[in-house]
């Protein structure tokens, strides 16, 4: 019921047993402490447990004790009032709290035990074992928990259900979410080398499962167990409410609410106190679970490319840019040449004090192909993203970016649309994810064509023409295909064709061949060259592979640790590299040393 099987998509890296584990625990704890609602939830929960254990001993009234005060509203003697028989509500609620916590805890233990064992076994052995367990999950999921539990509850014992029987029944019905979760994670861990290593070293199945696999799923189990605790509280109280859970003369929170059904308007305390207590328990459990989840699986800060930077962000950026400009030597960017298309001056992209790009200057002339080369993490992609206004919100981006004379920082989403696609086109690294899986190629072309004022027949003709130019065979039928029906190379050529629609002034290609097979690379590079020639656009070509640069670029900028270390035209770069790092990079590109300079 709670959001506890968002699934095996969030698999954390496996950790080895030993000291790193304790360090990880400390890290998780630190992260959890920063999650204020999670901490509050856990605190409330622990306090409630403490109260349930300690308070009944000191409270003068017993939950079944009948006092002469009938139907009293809350008063100093009875802080929560009394019911029609004169029983003290606080004493009853304390008893209910005990029952709920005890039963929910047992349910969680039972359900997690079944779920973990079946999940690990299914994931580890796979094949028919997995199929059997998954059928069992399907089966259990067809049974409404309350119905089965009510039936079993009614037959387990005639004189009311013991809490342990109730816990067993509910636990046996609630294990499915845990087992799915564990299975998913184990399936992904099973193939990892460290499991093979353990097997080679002679570890038995049991040992591998419970020493090597279960500890690595522990995160997920803890989160799922926490959230299940809340669900169990609701299930138990619901069952008791219907009369199939805890039976009088014993009491539980659900039973108290059931007894107070007709008293909402006349003796409201009887109804509100037990109900609000259930809400409080479940709410604190859920927040604690949420906090734990975030602590175990740190979420990256939310990305939303549809927003306009907020005023606070704009102000911070303006202030930082101004202060940076004061320290820069005056006139360092120099007078602009008339054919300059892109002029980046003093660009810094800063992630909480760690600059990804530092004080970068770069300009691109019309029709010029500039290659930005560097290892991963050198800041080259971040440079490209700042050119299209898509730097992640966690980063502070300062400096000036001019495109065709217009200042590009802090544009609103709508202002950006005048440039994106129309004047600046971008090709992303991985063509398998950059196309919309739910739309046909034709529909994705049509979306862009509409912006160019084309629709219907003329749009299709233009799309066919573009696909022809990127050497797609039978373009008309390709338009009816979905991206997943095409090969990686074809998808990337689609992306290139999409980029050509508006005859842009600048094409940014961010590692367009990295995700592709080497055999397809040449094809895609050729397509890119054609696209550039046809549109006459300038291009910023980003790569870590110097070998690709020689064939396409006019000028090369080498980037390292956020800084451009060397910038030169392509011939002097290859013939006489100035910077140590450039030489190293060249040495790594094997087939460039044809002139005998290979070290």
């Amino acid at each position: 019921m709670a959001t506890n099987d968002l699934g095996p998509g969030m698999v954390s890296a496996p950790t080895a047993p030993g000291p790193p584990r304790t360090r990880r625990a400390a890290y998780v704890l630190r992260r959890f402490r920063r999650h204020r609602l999670g901490v509050a939830g856990l605190t409330v929960l622990l306090l409630l447990v403490l109260v349930a254990v300690v308070a009944p001993r000191f409270w003068p009234y017993d939950y079944g004790e009948i006092t002469p005060d009938l139907s009293q509203p809350p008063s100093p003697a009875h802080p929560m009032g009394t019911d029609t028989l004169g029983r003290d509500l606080l004493a009853q609620i304390l008893r209910g709290l005990q029952q709920s916590l005890l039963i929910a805890f047992s349910v969680t233990v039972v359900a997690c035990f079944i779920g973990v064992v079946l999940g690990v076994v299914a994931g580890y052995f796979g094949r028919y074992v997995d199929a059997t367990v998954m059928r069992l999950v399907d089966l259990t999921l067809t049974l409404p928990t309350i119905a089965i539990a009510a039936f079993l509850g009614s037959v387990v014992s005639a004189g009311g259900v013991s809490w342990s029987a109730l816990a067993l029944v509910l636990g046996a019905l609630m294990w499915t979410s845990v087992s799915r979760l564990v299975r998913g994670v184990v399936l992904s861990l099973r193939e990892l080398p460290y499991i093979d290593a353990a097997r080679v070293m002679g570890a038995g199945h049991l040992r591998i499962m419970f020493r090597h696999l279960v500890p690595n799923v522990a995160d997920h189990i803890i989160v799922a167990a926490t959230l299940m605790f809340g669900t169990a509280i609701l299930a138990e109280s619901g069952l008791s409410f219907l009369g199939f859970g805890v039976q009088p003369p014993d009491t539980s929170l659900g039973l108290l609410v059931a007894d107070a059904q007709s008293a909402v308007l006349t003796r409201p305390w009887l109804f509100y106190f037990p109900g609000l207590l259930i809400i409080l328990i479940v709410l604190s459990v859920n927040y604690a679970g949420e906090g734990l989840r975030d602590a175990f699986n740190p979420k990256s800060s939310p990305v939303n490319p549809l927003t306009t930077p907020s005023r606070a962000v704009r102000r911070a950026r303006a202030a930082a840019t101004a202060s940076a400009a004061r320290t820069r030597p005056a006139g360092s960017s120099g007078p602009q040449r008339p054919d300059t298309l892109v002029d980046i001056a003093g660009l810094t992209v800063d992630f909480a004090g760690q600059p990804a790009v530092h004080d970068l200057d770069l300009s691109i002339r019309r029709g010029e192909v500039v290659a930005l080369v560097g290892e991963s993490g050198s800041g080259k992609s971040m440079t490209a993203l700042s050119l299209v206004g898509l730097v992640p919100p966690a980063a502070l981006c300062t400096g000036s970016i001019r495109f065709d004379g217009d200042e590009m920082t802090d544009l609103s989403f709508e202002r950006w649309r005048r440039y994106r696609g129309r004047r600046i086109a971008m090709i992303l690294q991985d063509p398998s994810t950059s196309l919309n899986p739910a739309l046909t190629i034709g529909a994705q072309f049509a979306d862009s064509m509409r912006l160019a004022g084309l629709s219907g027949r003329s749009a299709t003709d233009r799309a066919v023409e573009l696909l022809d130019s990127v050497a797609i065979k039978d373009p008309r039928s390709v338009l009816t295909h979905y991206p997943h029906q095409l090969s990686g190379g074809m998808r990337q050529r689609m992306a290139i064709a999409l980029a050509m629609i508006h005859d842009p002034d600048l094409i940014i290609a961010d590692e367009p061949t990295t995700a592709l097979d080497v055999t397809v690379q040449a094809q895609v590079m050729a397509t890119l060259a054609i696209a550039r020639e046809r549109t006459g656009a300038a291009m910023l070509f980003i790569t870590h592979d110097l070998a690709l640069v020689a064939g396409i670029a006019d000028r090369v900028a080498v980037m390292r640790a956020g800084v451009v270390v060397e910038e030169a035209d392509v011939f002097s770069m290859f013939d006489a590299p100035q910077h140590e790092y450039t030489r190293k990079l060249l040495a790594l590109a094997p087939h460039l040393g044809s002139d005998g300079r290979r070290p």
């Binding site: 019921m1 119905a147 619901g238 909402v264 129309r422 971008m426 912006l451 979905y482």
Partner: protein, 327 residues
């Protein structure tokens, strides 16, 4: 597509057959429908008990009983009830309609609201509607549905008393006798439907809107949305075709998986509002130890779940071409 439907259908039938066996086994092994008769004081003569055992088929071996039961099902016979006058099949059909009305309206309402709220919440993370919707969903998740049901019912009664006019109907699925005229009957049904539907829908609205929010947040961070932004598409177009459409797939699964929970919720809601629906049928049957009636109920619930899962699978194929063309 055709092959996909056939395959899913076959697997659905398989699950259903298995589930009928499990249900039958669990119910027959754990409950003795004649326990009450046997315990009666003064003792009932053995001949009466034996006759009753024979009538209910309890003197047969378990496998034989299952076969009798399942063949009976195909002829629309749910087996004899412990109460000799009760016709399980006839009662079930009339009550099924009542419950379906509640469940279907609640699903549609909860789903539509959850998708709207989840999407808006995700698009405006940590800003105006999200800062209200997110904590609200957390509180709703913690609300026991029975408590909410009682609360709304009593508030409805209080409201009616205050204004001296019956705005909310708080008892039953329709007035007894139902008002004349189609329009009056529909209005009457709606007045009765309002509060129970709100209860059932709110609880699931909370869960589903959280899932939808997560799905849209993930979708927003995906490469194809970034690419759509880079193509210069309008915000509305991107949200509709590039953000929300791919995010539909997870929510379909969640709704299908949540169905048994929904039925459990319906039992509670019907009890509080005194509807003569499936929930009441189950609870009465349990109290009467009418095993065949409980079996019939569970089978109907299992069929509904399997059916909805099948629909979900097909919707999946509609929403995701990768499924449709069998990758």
């Amino acid at each position: 597509m055709g092959r996909l439907i056939v395959r899913r259908l076959a697997s659905a039938v398989g699950v259903l057959v298995l589930s009928s066996m499990v249900i039958f086994l669990v119910i027959s092994v754990s409950g003795d429908p004649l326990a009450e008769l046997r315990d009666r004081q003064p003792p009932v003569p053995d001949s009466v008990i034996e006759a009753e055992e024979h009538r209910l088929g309890l003197d047969q071996p378990l496998v034989q009983r299952y076969i009798t039961w399942i063949t009976g099902l195909f002829q629309g016979d749910f087996g004899p009830s412990t109460t000799a006058t009760r016709d399980i099949g006839a009662e079930l059909t009339s009550r099924l309609g009542v419950t379906l009305r509640l469940v279907v309206v609640a699903i549609v309402l909860a789903l539509v609201l959850a998708m709207l709220a989840g999407t808006v919440s995700a698009l405006r993370q940590r800003r105006w509607p999200d800062v209200v919707l997110t904590p609200a969903a957390f509180v709703l998740l913690a609300l026991p549905s029975f408590w909410l049901a009682v609360l709304l019912k009593q508030w409805g009664i209080g409201f009616n008393n205050l204004f001296g006019y019956q705005v909310f109907a708080t008892v039953g699925a329709s007035s007894v006798p139902p008002p004349d005229g189609v329009i009056a009957a529909v209005l009457d049904a709606m007045a009765h439907l309002m509060l129970p539907t709100i209860v059932l829908a709110l609880v699931h609205f909370a869960t589903w809107s959280r899932y939808q929010r997560t799905a849209v947040v993930e979708s927003l961070a995906s490469d194809h949305v970034r690419f759509a932004v880079l193509k210069g598409l309008s915000r509305r177009r991107i949200v509709r075709s590039y953000v929300v459409r791919p995010a539909l797939i997870p929510i379909i699964t969640i709704v299908a998986l949540d169905l048994p929970v929904l039925f459990s919720g319906a039992i509670i809601t019907e009890t509080v509002f005194q509807w003569r629906g499936m929930g009441g049928f189950l609870l009465e049957s349990i109290t009467l130890r009418d095993t065949n009636a409980v079996l019939a109920w569970l089978l109907v619930a299992a069929t509904a779940v399997v059916l909805f899962n099948l629909i979900a699978d097909l919707l999946y194929a509609v929403a995701d071409p990768r499924v449709r063309y069998g990758d």
